[in-house]
Symmetry: C2
Subunit: 342 residues, 2 copies
DNA sequence: ATGAAAGCGCTAACAG
DNA sequence: CTGTTAGCGCTTTCAT
């Protein structure tokens, strides 16, 4: 380890006791101002840094927060992580990121790993495969700070940061309808996720408002949230081989949206002429696609920030937090050619 | 903090001393097999987990490694981080990620933050603005484990993981030439970075091999590595207003490559008819662009893995490491329409 | 106003 | 084979 000075070194050098030094460093007012000055100056001179590990052991706090997401290499999450880091950093916490790759097993392992690392709190976005959220329930009931963002656990009353998923899907669907599409398919992740359910509800509501049918065959879920290309391919192929194939697709996550495009192309379908596409994604380059993609964009960075602020507040609150907020942010619908007849 | 059992609890429950318990837990052979079994079983039963913070304090090791990159929301780096995590996780290290946003100042602050966090080693990819690498030099000379990847510090003899940048740029440039482009511009990051220099050398070598000119006006650097859109815009606009504008561009990093496209489009230039484009990027969706992009892809995931392996090995080696390796991986050139005359 | 000492959880001499 | 003890760096009573 990279050796640095300790409080003991200072004490020895200045012929003081460690406790005096400690107090001086912490600005206690029961220390003579001369002594204090002496200590502070010397500490400055040797560039003294308190050992955070020793502090953690003492305080029973690790000053770190654990993050559970499906994937870092995902536009939404990398942006959210950015927001998380920005707040965590300024609040004196460091961030340990773990990836589930959409596996519930992996998620549980990650949580346990983070707990054994003594994280002070958890920032989690569930995996697509997660059904059993009892770990979180238990932790939460024991007073352990958890904040969910985006993919929240349904029945656990923690702080949450989400977007208005219903509205987001509603808007996107309505825009497809207004562009003249009538047979709209719905490509989504597992219905384990509340966001999937809500986005589907918004979608359905838009169809209903405009008196459109929704045959069951137009609904397809990808159990791995689009991590596996096969699942997307099967969905798309299944649709296009239908007697009456859809003329548009609404996809409800990053992976699915960007994953759809190459598959449609490879199968020889033109977007939007053969089938239109609109979907959730935080990709910065969706406008560069051929055709430019109509997208629903979430305020990922801000969501990361808010979630972290809430978590830090919970961690640092003296008394048990009793009331939990659910922050609901708005999304942005950006219409481009993929959803407009040429 | 989420309270868990300690070695003391076990000792008390079993009427043993803490040291006996400790030894039993660590499988010492100087412990009676009965006692050992007893301890192990009880520990299992109460789901005992050693406190990593106490361990760290004792061992003077934090079991964490610090990562310094410019940006997480960058295809190359998010993939590299994936590789880093995979190895770190399996080796019992956790990863603290920091972002420089291409600022040298920020980089220094990050390094200091990581050091004060007592990381056991550093995995770094320099920021585009970094000129002064003396922090690393000092650390390295004191025996602190550092591995550079991708953007390495020139004169510090640490382990390194890079790609064959010369060759990568050479191949890409030659492919442009073979497609008939003759006036090829070079869009790059600051020349502080060795990768910029090497990629430029490869570029020049290809031009020379084919007897092509390279007017100085065709060389443009972005001091913020493309983080600021303006810098790219200025470069591109400058070129296109030249009496003899380039007919192709080679861009040498992720941000620059994907940043070029919308600017060219907005200015009304068709790719590749008005100007062709080939560039370094690890984007997964470059083939979906309009037009599909010709790219140089680095084995980011693998680079992250190798760098982490080297770092862990360095951290854990008993004796000071004396010989350092530079791992050089190959890139992949994927030719698509952006660099081929229609 | 300052020092001595205990203790956070764990390991490792040292003693038996 | 097992227990006692000191110590990692720091804070915090409790004395003085």
């Amino acid at each position: 380890m990279f050796q640095s000075y300790t409080i003991k070194d200072i004490a020895k050098a200045l012929n003081l006791s460690t406790s005096t030094v400690s107090r001086a460093l912490n600005g206690s007012h029961e220390i003579g101002s001369e002594t204090k000055k002496l200590v502070l100056e010397y500490a400055e001179k040797i560039n003294y840094r308190p050992n955070p590990i020793a502090l953690s052991l003492k305080e029973q706090k690790s000053h770190s927060i654990g993050v559970v997401v499906c994937e870092v290499a995902n536009n939404y999450f990398s942006q959210a992580i950015n927001g998380i880091e920005s707040i965590a950093y300024n609040s004196g916490y460091h961030v340990i990121i773990t990836q589930t790759h959409e596996s519930a097993e992996r998620e549980l392992a990650n949580v346990q790993h983070l707990l054994s690392r003594q994280v002070d709190g958890l920032l989690v976005s569930l995996s697509a495969q997660t059904v059993d959220t009892s770990v979180y329930e238990q932790l939460h009931s024991k007073g352990f700070p958890i904040v969910f963002f985006d993919r929240v656990a349904q029945h656990i009353p923690t702080h949450r940061v989400v977007v208005n998923n219903f509205d987001a899907a509603f808007k996107a669907t309505e825009s497809l309808i207004k562009s003249g599409f009538k047979r709209i398919a719905h490509l989504t992740s597992t219905s384990n996720l509340m966001i999937s359910q809500e986005r589907f509800k918004g979608f359905k509501a838009a169809l209903e408002k405009h008196g459109l049918d929704f045959p069951e065959t137009y609904f397809r879920q990808c159990n791995h949230g689009g991590v596996l290309k096969d699942e997307i391919e099967q969905a798309v192929e299944g649709w296009m081989n239908l007697p009456s194939p859809p003329d548009a697709i609404l996809s409800t996550n990053d992976r699915l949206t960007t994953g759809c495009v190459p598959i449609l192309k490879r199968l020889g379908y033109k977007i939007p002429d053969d089938v239109a596409l609109a979907g959730f994604t935080n990709s910065d380059v969706a406008e560069l696609f051929d055709p430019p993609l109509t997208v629903v964009r979430q305020p990922a960075f801000q969501m990361g920030q808010m979630a972290t602020e809430l978590l830090v507040k919970t961690i640092e609150s003296k008394k048990a937090v009793e009331t939990y907020t659910t922050e609901v942010l708005e999304t942005e619908l950006i219409c481009r050619e993929s959803s407009v007849h040429a």
